[in-house]
Structure formats: C-alpha cells, structure tokens
C-alpha cells in the first residue's frame, strides 16, 4: 500500500538529520566523530521484578540482592529504590503506557497520553543518525512505551529480521525516492509562486513567513534524499535461531541488534518494551505463563518459576551491559556514553501496584552509587527530568516531575 509506506517513513524518517556533515560518518568506513555521541536506551520489563529478590537486602550493597549479585558492571550502575508514578492507584497493565510519560490514570477510557521521554530525547539526539530512534518490543501489539507529542503510540518493531533489514539490509526505496523528488518539484513550484506574489506587491511579511517554512522543508527533503542514497553499514547477521527457548532468544536477539545499532551509530535512542502478557514461555528450568506466574500471590511454586524467568531476563541484560562496556570509545567504553535505564511500570505485579518501581540506571558516565534508597516516595519523573537535563534539554517540567532528582551527580 503506497500510503502505508509513506506513513512508515514519516514515523522514522520525518525527523531525518539536519546536520549534513554528520552524514558521511555512518556511510561505510568514514572516521568516527571526535567526541563520542551520547545515547540512551530505555527498557521496560512490563511485568516487574519480584521486589524481595530485586532490591538489595543491605542498603547500598548491590551484591546483597538475590537477582543482582552477579551483575558484572556494578560500579557503572545505580539501583534506585522508592521511585513511583503518581496517579496509578486504579491502573493495572495500562500503567505501561505511562512508564516513560508519567501521565496519570492510563486506564481511563479516553486516556490521552503525553510525549514519552525517549521521544523528547530523540528530537535532540536523533538528528544526526539514519534513525532518530528505534522502538522495539517482543511481540506484535501496536504500542509500547514510546508516545509522540500528540499522545499517539509509536508502534514498536518486534520482528528481528525486519529490524535487521531496516538497520543493515537492502530495502527497495525507489517509491520513497520518487516521492522525495516529486516533493522537490512542488517546492520549486512554491518558490516560483511566491515570486509571482512578491511581484504583485502582496503582503511581504506573509510571503517571508511562508518562504522560511518552505526552505526548512526543502532542507528536510534534501537530507532525506541524502540518507536515501547513503549506504547502510555492513554487519554480519548475528541473529540466533534457537527455538527451544524462543523467548530468551528473542530478548537476546533484540539486545544484540540494539548493541549493533549503537555501535554503527544508526541510532542513538532505543526503547525496548519487554512484555509477554499471555501464553506460556520456556526458559531454562521453567515453563509457564509469565503473566500467570507474575500473579504468584506469594506461593512458593509459582515464585520459583517466576524467578527463573526474571533471572533469565537479567542475565541477558547483564551481558548486554558487559558487551557495551567492552566496546572502546573515546577515553572510555560505549557504555560510558550510553545511558541505559532498566525498569518496570509495576512495583508489585502480583497486586498490580505501581509503587516502589524497580529502577536501574546504568552507564552514561554518571557518578554511580550502586544502591540508592530514597527516604520518601519520589516521582520517577524527577529522575527523568534529571536525565533530560543531563542531555542539555530544558523542558521546564516533565510528567509529574516536581524537581530535578539530582541523583546522578552522586
């Protein structure tokens, strides 16, 4: 469908780069930028982590956590305790919609979301890359954690092969090229049209205002044209096809693609909605419905299986962080320039409560503190506001933020 192609492109292509000189960088084997770019990744584990196993038992000591004791990059992360989103008392799984936006009462019938933090960051960080951002999820479900300025969900990509082709594969872009070239004709026509109006002595401020906008659009088309002709980086296909543990494979494949996307500077903002609400999954040692098990009600049998699933997820996240940290970049590693936020919309998924959210901030070159317990419940949006500030974005306030959390400065 022709117009569907166009819409797809608008989702990912409309904010194509304005920094022309950044262009050569990603096309093949051109040199790396002098100072490493900053990147962010948000991961939402939408069924939460069993709190008693997740949070460290000894205040300040990550290795006292059942789940986190084996994390390898402890000195480059902080586990935050006592963060929450206000306005979630009657929410259940809908709270995921607000994980990155902080908008209250997402379960309301006509709930209108607000922009998510990854999208604000993408507006800034996404200017110089082929993809301003990359939204991912485990299965096809139409929405994830990314929401645009109009509060419309940005459907995440769930098919690894499709993601790989988008990032590194060959695509037929001829229809899009023709579209861009047609739009360029139209722009030329508009300039001639304005010339006519000017000659006739029409209101010049009006024409000037219009001309400014048309020239901005022209620049956008020019950049899109350049990206359409620029070659994609060449990367061997890393996708694993282990069907026995399909769920595990899916997570590790998507994390691997995320790593490659960062490494090749194809994007600087990734959002990964990790969810599998229904149907049984199989991880080493356990089979069961993740959602069903998440309502463990404290029963030992269910908890045992659930923790195997949760450990499996954390194992993949751990190796993702380790690999990012192994890639040298500038004076540190890629992880030092990449903020990875791992968390959940649920504190206690068994009771659908959204208090005390499990939150980890890793990498980004911050002064990390291992485990930090906040004295009283603090809006998660305070931390988000701080992240925006850390990326030189001044948005006034964000979601339910009251103030910059001031947690990453140590």
């Amino acid at each position: 469908m022709k117009h569907f192609c166009r819409r797809e492109f608008l989702k990912f292509g409309a904010a194509l780069p304005l920094a022309m000189n950044a262009l050569g960088l990603r096309a093949g084997n051109t040199p790396k930028p002098s100072s490493p770019p900053r990147r962010v990744m948000f991961i939402c584990n939408s069924l939460g982590f069993y709190e008693p196993h997740f949070f460290p038992k000894v205040r300040g000591d990550v290795s006292s956590s059942t789940y986190l004791e084996n994390l390898a990059v402890k000195e480059k992360l902080t586990v935050f305790q006592n963060l929450y989103h206000p306005g979630m008392d009657t929410s259940n799984h809908d709270s995921e919609k607000s994980f990155l936006t902080g908008a209250p009462y997402p379960e309301a019938a006509h709930f209108k979301n607000t922009i998510s933090i990854d999208q604000i960051l993408a507006e800034q960080l996404g200017k110089g890359t082929r993809f301003p951002f990359l939204p991912l999820s485990i299965y096809d479900r139409g929405w994830g954690c990314s929401w645009n300025r109009r509060g419309v969900p940005i459907p995440p990509l769930h098919d690894e092969t499709q993601v790989f082709n988008k990032l590194f594969g060959q695509e037929d872009l001829s229809a899009r090229r023709r579209q861009v070239s047609n739009d360029q004709y139209v722009v030329q026509c508009l300039y001639r049209d304005m010339e006519q109006l000017r000659k006739q002595g029409r209101e010049s401020s009006k024409i000037d205002a219009y001309r400014t906008v048309v020239s901005e659009l022209e620049a956008q088309l020019k950049h899109e044209e350049l990206w359409l002709s620029a070659k994609k980086p060449v990367v061997p296909n890393p996708l694993s096809d282990d069907q026995e543990f399909a769920f595990s494979t899916k997570i590790s494949n998507l994390l691997e693609l995320s790593k490659l996307a960062f490494q090749t500077d194809s994007t600087r903002v990734i959002t990964f909605s990790m969810d599998w609400i229904y149907g049984a999954i199989n991880v080493p040692g356990a089979t069961g419905g993740w959602h069903t098990l998440s309502h463990h009600g404290g029963k030992e049998d269910a908890l045992g299986k659930l923790s195997l699933i949760e450990r499996d997820i954390l194992k993949h996240l751990n190796s993702f962080l380790v690999e990012l940290d192994r890639i040298p970049e500038g004076e540190g590693s890629l992880l030092d320039h990449t903020t990875v936020v791992i968390g959940s919309n649920f504190g206690d998924a068994s009771n659908h409560t959204c208090k005390n959210l499990p939150m980890i901030v890793a990498g980004g070159g911050y002064r990390h503190q291992g485990h930090r317990v906040l004295e009283k419940p603090t809006p998660l949006c305070n931390l988000y506001l701080e992240l925006l500030h850390q990326h030189n974005l001044d948005v006034g306030q964000f979601g339910s933020s009251v103030r910059d959390a001031g947690l990453l400065r140590g």
Binding site: Y105, E107, Q196, E216, Q220, I277
Partner: protein, 794 residues
C-alpha cells in the same frame, strides 16, 4: 494529581492578549501633569482610587500604577466598566456620560500594538476545503499536528505555520489525492459475511457465547473497567474507502432500555486486553425484539478490523450470558461509491470524457477498474488545473500566476506518467501553495475575498462557484450580505462552524482529557463522552438556526438527548440512542449550557469537581468578565477531595485572606451553584468519599465510596443571593445584553483570529443594542460577520 487552584483547566487564566500586551509594556517616562488633569483620569481617580490605588490594590489591580506607567492594555478596566461590574454595587456609580467618556478614552489610547499578523488555514479548514474540492469525505485532521497551543481559537493570528505542519500538509494531500484518484485503480465492490470473531483471551471469552446462528455479546469490559473489543474475523478492507456495515442483530433481555452496540475500527492484536487506539465508527441501538438490519457507512483503512463493544448494567459481567446483543452476522459491502465514475473524477475533470477500463483480475485480487482520461492534450491539462486552482483560491488567475502549477504537471507528463498522475502533481502544488494555506486575502476582487471569507467562517471551507457569483451581489449592500449569510447558515456545511465554534469557545476539545474516577463514578463511561458534545452541538445549532434569544444559553426547558444522556440526567421515558428534542418540567435543573454534561465534565479537575475551575469557566466563557491572574506569591490550594470537610469549606477558609477574596468572591459563586452536579454531570445532594480497594483494582458497579457531607450550592453574585443553580440561572439570564456582548466578542475572535480591540468592542456593544433586537443568536452572529468583513480584516 489534584488540581492546582490557580489554573483554569488547560487554559491560562489571563486572556492571551493580556499576556502579549503585558510583554509589550512600554515605559514612556513620567506622565506629564497635563495628562493627569484630563477628564477621564479625573473620573477614574474619583471612582476607582478608593480601592485600587497603590495602597489598597484590591483584586491586585492598581489604577494609579496603570495611569502612571501609561500601560497600553486597558482591557481589564474597560471590561469592568462596560459590563457594569465596577464600581461594585453599593459604591458611587459613574453617570452614563462619564462611563462612556472613559470607555472612549481607553479605546482611543489603546495603541496599535497588534503585531504584524495574518490568517493561515487551520488544519480543520484545510481538510474540509480539500474534501470539498475533491469530493471526498476523509477525516484526516488528526494527522496534522495541533498547533493551537494555549490559544483559545484555531484562527489565532499569532499561530505561525511551521515546518512540521507544512510537512504534514504535504503527506495528507498525497493521501487525499491517492484516495480520490487512485493509481492502482479501484477494486470493484465486494460483499463479505461473517459471524465469527477473532480469538480472544480466555478471561473475556466467557462474556459471549454462540447463540442461534451467531453470537450473543454481553459484557466487554476488563476487570479494571477498561473496554475490551471483540474483533470480527473474515473481513479485511482491501483499500481505504467507504464500506457499508450491516449488523443483523437483536436485543436479548427483558428490560426497557436499548442495548448499545459500539462499533469501532482498530487493529487486532491477539489477546491483549488493554484498550488499543481505536476509532468509534458509530453506535447501533438495539431496542426492538425482532431481528433487524442496522447499517453504518464508515471509512476503513487496510489493516483495520471492525470490533464491537457492548455493556450495560443489565449484563454486568454475565458469564455464559443470557442477555445482551445477539448479532446473527455482520455483512460488509464495499468499497462503495455513490456514483460512477467516482465523484472526485467528476469534480476534478468536469466535462472531459472519462474511460473506465477493467484491469486484470485473478482469484486473489478483486478485479479493479481504472478511470482514465481520454485526453493527452496539454490544453486540457491547463484547463483542468486552472479550474481547480480558481476554485481553491476563490479567485481568477492570470496565465503567469498559473504557470508554476502547470509546470509541475507538465514535468510529470514529460516523464511519461499518465494524464491523471500528472494532474495530481499540479493539484498538490496548488493545495500546498501560500495562496491556499495563507488565505484569505489573496483575491483581487472584493466580492471574491468576501466569498472566501464567508466560506471560511461559515463552512470552514472554500466557496463554491455559486457563492462566488452571489458574493458579487452581496458586496453591494449589507442587506444582500445578510441574505447571503442566512442562506449559508441554512446550508448543512454550517454545522462545521457550529461545532467548531462551540468546541473552541466552550473548551469542549478538552472534554476527553479529564476522566472522572471509576471508583467514585462507576456508571460513567466512554459513550457519555461521545454523546455529551453532541447534545451541546445540537442545542447551539438549534439556537442559531431558530434564531432564539441568548438567554437560552443560560436556561431553557428543553435540550437534545438520547437514552444514555436522559438516564444520566435522571429523565425517564427516552428510549433509543438517536438524539431528539426533549422538554423538561420546571423541576429539572437541566436546560442551557451550564448544566450540560459536557460543560460540567470539562470543568472538573481530572478527578472531581472544582468550584473554582467551574466558576472561572463561567466567568470567562459566559459572563465574559476577564480574570486577572493570581498574584505570583500565592500558594495554590491542593484540594483534598472528599475529606472530612468539603472543598467548599476549604475554599471558604480563604475568605479571611482579603487578597484572595477580592477576586474569588466574583469567581467561585458560579462554581458553588454547580456543586449539585458531580464530576460526571449527575445531580447529587451529598458528596462521595473514595474508599480504598484491596490488592488489584477491580471495577464494580457500586464503585468504592461512601456518602459524605451535604452539598451547599448557595452563594451570591453582584449582591444577589441564590439558593442553588435555579437561582443562579435567573440572575444570569436577567442581563441578556451582557451575555450577548460576550458571545459577540467570542465569535469575533473566532472569526478574525484576534480578540476585538477596545474600539471594536465599543462598536460591537453598540451594534448589539441597536441592530440585534431581542438579542437573537443568528442575528447576533450575522451582525458580527457583517462587522468583521468591513472591520476585522483591517
């Protein structure tokens, strides 16, 4: 989060004009002694300084400071004087002449500070215009970024065209042209029949069951009150287009009310019970006891599926249901065209001969027809583009003016594209050109620019050829102009204006942004959100078309309701979901805008009622008193809803604080009068206090609350006490001139994109008294349009 007292809904307290003006305050040094001796200043000194000098500054307003610094924005002073709000009753009053001389002086001294600005087409105007030009009915306004910001009206001249918006226009035009004149041709009409729904999660499968030849649906809400959809299988729309959906359905159950079947379009995802973004296509009201066919004509895109929602208090969580909506089958026919070749071909190509040829067909693809043009002549191409451009711009064009557009099409033509495709290139350029987007004001002839203005104001569109001719006569005298306006209001396209003005003036666009708590108001549902504005649109449309006096805005003995609304309002005997005029007995508190669900809901704070927000809404939108912004050093009250003492008591504590009370005594009483209406718009005698739920929140019909304190809806406006909303309505309706003046100002701003300058307000005020007998609605807006066409465009 609870509301902050000093914010009014989603709009700023101050008019934006005020804010802008404040930004432009100039300091012209010390006022000369001479200026202070002149008469208006003397009058102000005599009547105002007692309360509004440097020392008292009642209501945070200091007239001495205003004069000393020669502040250009005198609108607050002006409005308080013209509407007689100041000096307050009980204080010495200005004589008619004194009042007038101060008003004239204020109007005169208002410097021409208005920034250089011009109208652009709003996104609604854009989509309606393109639809009318092409003969399509696409609803694509939501694909264009909302650029209104915090301004009240789309037309506001301070809103600038942005790259994001232009870029969206480019792609929306592509979509509209592709739909109107498709490259791949048009699939021939097909029929689908299905009685099967797609697989859904087991938790919800129990709320439907096979019944007879189809399915009985009873309850489509998740445990937490969310909507859950059942998607019909075996039908996928092959192309974007119009489809006739016919449900052969029947209500099953021994109760009086109908069963409402909500029909949505959205994408199906297996077993995800969270509400997906879906579009409401329509509601089928099943009231009868025999199987009947119910049809809806809807627009569908490929990838969308049709889903149904259905719930009522009679079928609450009925497993293996016995009652509900039985749908024997869904039949779909489409894509349908009301004529052949489709309307867009006729509108764009006019009398030129069209060829329909049937393209190859196989089992997979339905056979398609392609409409082509017999011609390949450049003259035809030129003629077609000229005709389209002249309709789009409402103006005749010279060869030179036309040349750039023709060039685009010729280029496509040369590259070997077919005639229709080549034309589309030129059409796109026309629809994205400054002549179209930055309209009006690009017409050479006065009559043309009048026709363009009228079509924009009354139809949100471009004039048709007939109207351009009629405008030639209308340009001759105001009486012929009034006739033309009357004629255009009679046209069904004026419904767009009524809806658009209504939503912007009354802030109904924010209606869905606030959701009453399901714990306190379990009977509230999304259908009410859908019906509330329909009532207001129908009512306002009726007042305008029937030319009723403006007091009907405040009070009347009728409204437009259906079963859902009537039940919600506690009115018996309305069965079925079609909107109809319903008369009220004297005891019914409804009638008029203030007690409509739409207004009562949009003025809540996203959680429960707030007398302050409601008071500010009435003050700003109905009474028309400008509100001064709260002083910056005042801390906001975070209302603790439903606690031991009522919000009213909390607010009244502030009576002791004179600086708050000075303003709030004229804002809050309107809100107090409406306290008998809860956040969902239902009548209440007592407040509800929210109760905690255990573990996961589970929706239940009786909610989670206990009854709290008794509502006290009494108050006092302009020294006139009232017991409740009945009394308030009487007080408000007694001053029709004030209400009419406010409507005129709002409509002027809607029409012209800026709030009337003071001298224009004086003129409007005078015209209302002189020209609008009985303060009738249609006369009133007609007068504003006539005045605007002469004045507003300056």
């Amino acid at each position: 989060m609870a509301a902050i007292i000093h914010s009014i809904g989603h709009k700023p307290f101050v008019t934006d004009a005020t804010r802008l003006m404040l930004g432009l305050i100039c300091f012209w040094g010390f006022p000369s002694l001479k200026a202070l001796e002149s008469k208006p200043e003397k009058i102000l000194e005599r009547y105002c300084f007692d309360c509004h000098d440097e020392l008292s500054q009642k209501g945070n307003f200091d007239v001495v400071d205003f004069l000393k610094h020669n502040k250009p924005d005198g609108s607050l002073l002006f409005e308080n004087l013209i509407t007689g709000k100041m000096p307050p009753a009980g204080k010495e009053q200005l004589s008619q002449e004194e009042r007038r001389s101060v008003l004239d002086w204020l109007a005169k001294r208002e410097a021409e500070h208005a920034p250089v600005s011009f109208r652009r087409k709003s996104r609604q105007e854009f989509v309606f215009s393109v639809n009318d030009l092409l003969g399509t009915k696409l609803e694509l306004a939501d694909d264009i970024p909302e650029d209104r910001g915090t301004y009240d009206f789309d037309s506001d001249r301070r809103i600038k065209l942005s790259r994001e918006v232009l870029s969206a226009y480019f792609s929306v035009v592509d979509e509209m042209l592709d739909h109107a004149l498709p490259v791949e041709g048009i699939p021939t009409e097909r029929v689908w029949q299905t009685n099967k729904v797609k697989d859904s999660h087991e938790s919800y499968r129990c709320y439907l069951k096979p019944h007879d030849e189809g399915i009985l649906f009873s309850w489509t809400r998740a445990n937490n009150g969310n909507n859950y959809s059942f998607f019909y299988d075996n039908f996928e729309p092959p192309v974007p287009g119009w489809y006739d959906l016919t449900f052969d359905a029947l209500k099953v159950g021994e109760f009086e009310e109908d069963v409402s079947l909500q029909v949505y379009a959205g994408r199906y995802y297996f077993a995800d019970d969270r509400p997906q973004p879906q579009r409401l296509l329509g509601v089928v009201s099943l009231g009868n006891r025999s199987l009947a066919s119910h049809s809806l004509r809807v627009f569908l895109n490929p990838g969308e599926n049709v889903s149904v929602h259905c719930y009522s208090k009679h079928t609450f969580r009925q497993k293996s249901p016995e009652q509900g909506a039985y749908i024997k089958q869904l039949r779909v026919r489409g894509p349908v065209f009301d004529r052949w070749p489709p309307r867009p071909y006729q509108q764009v190509f006019g009398a030129l001969a069209l060829d329909s040829k049937v393209l190859s067909s196989d089992d997979e693809m339905p056979s398609r027809s392609r409409v082509a043009l017999a011609s390949r002549s450049k003259d035809d191409l030129r003629r077609i583009l000229q005709r389209f451009a002249e309709r789009a711009f409402a103006s005749d064009l010279t060869e030179d003016e036309l040349a750039p557009y023709i060039r685009v099409s010729l280029r496509h033509f040369k590259e070997g594209e077919d005639f229709v495709q080549a034309i589309k290139g030129g059409l796109k350029a026309i629809l994205c050109s400054p002549r179209f987007l930055m309209a009006p004001g690009e017409q050479r002839a006065v009559a043309d620019s009048m026709a363009a203005d009228l079509a924009r104001i009354l139809w949100l569109s471009v004039p048709d050829e007939e109207n351009r001719l009629l405008a030639n006569r209308a340009a001759i005298s105001d009486d012929t102009l009034r006739e033309l306006i009357d004629r255009m209001i009679d046209d069904e396209r004026s419904a767009r204006m009524i809806r658009s003005f209504c939503d912007q003036w009354l802030n109904l666009r924010s209606l869905e942004q606030v959701a009453p708590s399901l714990k306190l108001y379990p009977r509230y549902n999304d259908l009410l959100d859908y019906y509330f504005p329909l009532e207001t649109h129908a009512y306002l449309g009726y007042l305008i078309r029937e030319n009723l006096p403006v007091r009907y805005l405040i009070d009347s003995d009728f409204s437009f309701l259906n079963q859902s609304l009537a039940q919600h309002y506690g009115i018996n005997g309305v069965v079925g979901q079609s909107m109809r005029k319903v008369s009220f007995s004297e005891k019914v508190p409804r009638g008029g805008l203030l007690t409509m669900g739409s207004v009562l809901k949009v003025t809540t704070d996203g959680y429960d009622t707030s007398p302050i927000l409601r008071g500010a809404w009435v003050s700003k939108n109905i009474v028309g008193t400008p509100l001064s912004p709260p002083p910056e050093n005042v801390a906001a009250i975070e209302p603790a809803h439903g606690e031991a003492f009522t919000l009213r008591e909390q607010i009244e504590l502030h009576k002791d604080n004179r600086s708050c009370y000075a303003c709030h005594k004229s804002i809050d009483p309107y809100g107090f009068a409406l306290e008998n209406f809860d956040a969902s718009g239902q009548w209440r005698e007592r407040y509800r206090v929210k109760q905690a739920h255990k573990a996961t929140f589970i929706y239940r019909m009786e909610g989670y609350y206990r009854l709290g304190g008794t509502v006290d809806a009494s108050g006092e406006v302009n020294q006139r006490p009232f017991e409740n909303v009945f009394g308030l309505k009487k007080i408000l309706a007694s001053d029709q001139r004030k209400i009419a003046y406010n409507v005129a100002k709002k409509f002027f701003e809607y029409v012209n994109g800026y709030s009337a300058r003071l001298e224009q307000r004086l003129e409007l005020f005078d015209r209302i008294a002189a020209g609008v007998k009985g303060y009738r609605m249609k006369d009133l807006i007609t007068e504003v349009i006539v005045y605007s066409l002469h004045e507003g465009r300056k």
